[in-house]
Symmetry: C2
Subunit: 586 residues, 2 copies
């Protein structure tokens, strides 16, 4: 037996007991006549003491040579500590060591195993097993475990059945790129790894399973942006014999439960917002509603004056920045530079100061008088002391730009409090989305999403206007879940696939099994999937998903710790009937 207690366990009540502890040497202090060492494990830290008077000389020497991160087992007696440390759970006691066994030595770690480490991101990823020893990383992993358990127990109690769907499935040329897996036994053929278990969960509904969930890995071979992972985890759910309202209520219940269980926060009914309203008020389909700064559309009050920039714009829209009138001219110029950065892309910014005396001072006073500016303040809800920031241009672009500015300013103003939680349903998404590059429409959610009743006829004439039975759950400006009511009849599914550009043959080859299934009594059904990585990071008050993944990949999709991916040897390639066709050799 390696230990009688953990290093987080001993208290004053244990004084006098003989104990055995194991763990890592966090640090030691050697004063010659007395040596203290901190012994660490997952559960805490316990102070060991060796002193000239009570410790044999040989063991004093041994103690003097215990290096950082050595793994040791010690036996000894729990004694009262002279200088108690009320910051430590075990701070009332220490262990007078009678025996030390070195279980394993350690090289000096490449970075300090402390809450605030001196290791950079790359080094910590390469030695992730050492990074995991640090409290913040370990706590994140345990936090994730708690969220997963809470999700499973909640859904299970609600009658959902956890069903494992297969990972070796079929390539479907929609959405992102698939990762594929060559089959040795089926020459020249490939499996694909699931981008989501979408079709399988629908088939489970056709199979009468009624309520399904799974916490499941999904795979997308996308060019990685910051904070995207090629493999990620979904809480995948589906229900049959339900309407949109049932789904919203069920998963609002789950989210409320998590906020209460995990964060101790009680939230009432979640607000719901139409997609069109979210875009108009926040320029974004996942608005952060922890703070105001709602958009005010100024076309009616800012156009038809002599200011050509506004007159020629499709949309003139502004926000009131609370207390922004305190910004110096230089600060405002910097803000203008910020919106002109390529990542935001605005051509410029008009502003109007709301002075303490009720007057206004704008950057376009040549074109607008005080009455005009008062109307701007009214529309944007600006108060005395605020700064009104206005962008103009094409509706979609200018909304995205102003949304970026709104989020940046909120961040700077400290309005994005990670301990505050503001969930929101965004509903009535468009069914289709125009790809401006190709001019083609593609499914905004996925090809199995049903259009709103009676709107399918619009597909031919006004495809962009068709609304879907689709909904997203937004938390603090992040989409944490999304789903839809599905199509459950073959005819509608065929129309959808046709409008998405599938030939009959392609539709048959890719989704024939699903279309067949719809002919054998498919019930009405729908569902939702949460992004677990994102959900956990937001509940944890952080925004970087990588911090909540045990072994994340970098933004080249590499695991730098194990050095994967890696070349295959020729024999393996031969067995798989493959040869490399590298671009360099073309």
């Amino acid at each position: 037996m390696y230990r009688t207690h953990t290093n987080g366990e001993l208290r004053a009540s244990h004084i006098g007991q003989e104990v055995t502890l194991s763990g890592w040497i966090q640090k030691s202090r050697d004063k010659g006549f007395i040596i203290w060492a901190d012994l660490r494990d997952r559960y805490g830290i316990t102070q060991l003491v060796f002193d000239e008077e009570r410790t044999p000389k040989k063991m004093m020497e041994q103690a003097a040579h215990l290096g950082r991160e050595f793994v040791v087992q010690v036996k000894g007696k729990v004694i009262e500590r002279e200088s108690k440390n009320s910051n430590m759970a075990t701070g009332d006691i220490e262990i007078l060591v009678s025996e030390v066994i070195i279980l394993n030595k350690s090289l000096t770690p490449p970075f300090t195993i402390e809450d605030e480490t001196d290791g950079g991101e790359d080094l910590r990823m390469k030695y992730r097993y050492l990074d995991i020893r640090r409290n913040p990383v370990r706590e994140n992993l345990i936090f994730r475990h708690k969220v997963s358990m809470a999700v499973r127990n909640y859904l299970s109690a609600e009658g959902f059945v956890d069903v494992e769907t297969p990972y070796l499935i079929k390539s479907t040329p929609e959405g992102a790129r698939d990762f594929v897996v060559p089959s040795r036994m089926n020459e020249g053929q490939f499996y694909a790894l699931p981008q989501s278990p979408q079709t399988f969960k629908q088939l489970l509904m056709v199979g009468g399973l009624d309520k399904y969930f799974q916490i499941v890995k999904c795979f997308r071979d996308e060019d990685l942006r910051a904070d995207r992972q090629p493999e990620f985890t979904q809480i995948d759910c589906e229900m049959a014999f339900i309407e949109q309202e049932d789904i919203l209520n069920m998963f609002e219940g789950l989210t409320r439960h998590l906020l209460k269980e995990i964060n101790g926060v009680e939230i009432g009914d979640f607000p719901r917002m139409q997609y069109d309203d979210a875009m108009a008020k926040y320029g974004n389909d996942k608005p952060d509603i922890r703070f105001g700064m709602e958009f005010g559309e100024l076309n009616a009050v800012a156009q038809h004056k002599d200011f050509g920039v506004f007159n020629n714009a499709e949309l003139v829209v502004g926000i009131a920045v609370p207390g922004g009138n305190s910004y110096t001219r230089k600060e405002i110029d910097k803000l203008i530079d910020w919106v002109k950065r390529p990542q935001v892309g605005a051509l410029g910014m008009v502003y109007s100061r709301c002075n303490d005396d009720g007057s206004f001072k704008s950057s376009v006073d040549k074109f607008y008088d005080q009455d005009d500016l008062a109307k701007w303040a009214e529309v944007t809800g600006a108060k005395t002391g605020d700064l009104i920031c206005i962008l103009s241009g094409d509706t979609n672009k200018v909304r995205a730009q102003l949304s970026a500015l709104r989020m940046e300013l909120a961040e700077r103003l400290g309005l994005r409090n990670p301990k505050e939680f503001a969930p929101l349903w965004v509903i009535d998404f468009p069914l289709l989305e125009l790809d401006e590059e190709t001019g083609h429409y593609h499914a905004m959610h996925h090809p199995f999403t049903s259009p709103k009743p009676g709107q399918i006829e619009l597909l031919d004439t006004n495809p962009g206007d068709v609304k879907a039975n689709a909904y997203d759950l937004v938390l603090n400006g992040n989409e944490i879940g999304g789903g839809s009511i599905r199509i459950h009849d073959k005819a509608t599914q065929a129309i959808m696939l046709k409008h998405l550009g599938f030939s009959d043959e392609e539709a048959r080859a890719q989704f024939g099994f699903l279309m067949d299934a719809f002919e054998y009594g498919a019930p009405p059904h729908g569902g939702l999937a949460f992004g677990l990585d994102r959900l956990v990071s937001i509940l944890g008050g952080q925004e970087t998903i990588r911090d909540f993944i045990a072994f994340p990949k970098n933004n080249r999709g590499r695991d730098v710790m194990i050095d994967a991916p890696a070349p295959l040897d020729q024999e393996q390639l031969n067995e798989l009937n493959l040869q490399l066709n590298l671009k360099k050799n073309d």
Copy 2:
């Protein structure tokens, strides 16, 4: 809202209530003036009634046309049933229907949706979504869910942390073949899918996580035998600062908990058996100990007579078949044919009848007298009325043959009661196993398994004799789990890899990250993995894992429902820098 109640819910106490139900038409009986239809969902069946007197004519017509597996929503009143059916939970009531909405029609299903279906295996796999509607399949999936939940909650309460390890990892040329995944972003390189999260769970121990578990998919590209799947599920566990005894106790606790929670069976301490004893007594490292028929080794009492077959054999070994003396000569001849089948491979079988009068009658009476045969009975534990069956030959082969015979006879004698559970630890496995084809030793468990203390020196001289800190959990003749105490220092790991034929370079390339990790304070650790598919099927009283997998693959590794794997299009191959190198085109 599609329903106010499920179809398993209504009782006499609901009589008089107006309800809405949804589900599938299981069957209907049309007597002209009255029509009954059974409405089915996941929860049960409720009888619908339409009759001339109370049902409008139009609806009678509608009811007459409800086909099997149509999806309908009905509204109506709960009424008392005239002829109650005590076999159905809802058998006291029926629904007098006032409104029928057909939610979806159904073609006639290719097989009957009944507990005993007329559909063959292939057809049921192709239409798995219909197969899942059948009670036995659905119940198996829900049973699996219950086992998973019980496992997770037990381990979580014991302090284990569920950590998700990556799926896109590195090819390791050991054990079975890997499935690989070409990387588009890292040209010419491949990920591998995990055969198990072995190295990652060890790194989590190095990372101080102490107790880890995960229910996780694993992948092996093996030539599929019956009842093997290319993807399968493991309950994967690892602990640090533990000895073998701690692991055995912990997972004995888990298994005992499952048997109690899931099967209502209380089991005391699990017996433990040395690998060598299991092989000697049962010819098998996963003995079914629900029944006796232990091996009796007869060399001492059967050799050195004039019977050359026995004299020339390395091992002469027999079992007593309870009541086997009742077999006719013809039946015994059939048994001899059975052991001579290529799958078993014996050259013949000697037998001795234990007559009621205490005398013996053997097939080799020419060589052995009654005293000799009495000794055989003593050694095999045969009693009056039994039949002693004896095989002889090379030790390993003859043990396997007699083990097959023992299991076959037990099956025929009804001794393998699926409701009886007999768990067993098999311990002290050999570290290495000789591959008779290549003459090389390979790791019996895996290359990370530690040898018994003090035995590592034997590796050079008697590699086959080295025992490992390795153990299997056996239930009813099936290995349901296995694990080991791991090597946790770099030097020992290097020696092991060398003995397994890895050059320093290969060891470095494949396992360098793990060896590095061992240099930074790796704690003693070990673990175990359960095969969830197998565990669930045995707890469920069945032996076919396919019945407990939602969407299994056939023994060509194909999913016949979605028709995967499938060819990739050229564009995808190009993006992956691959070209096919099919054998046909060579």
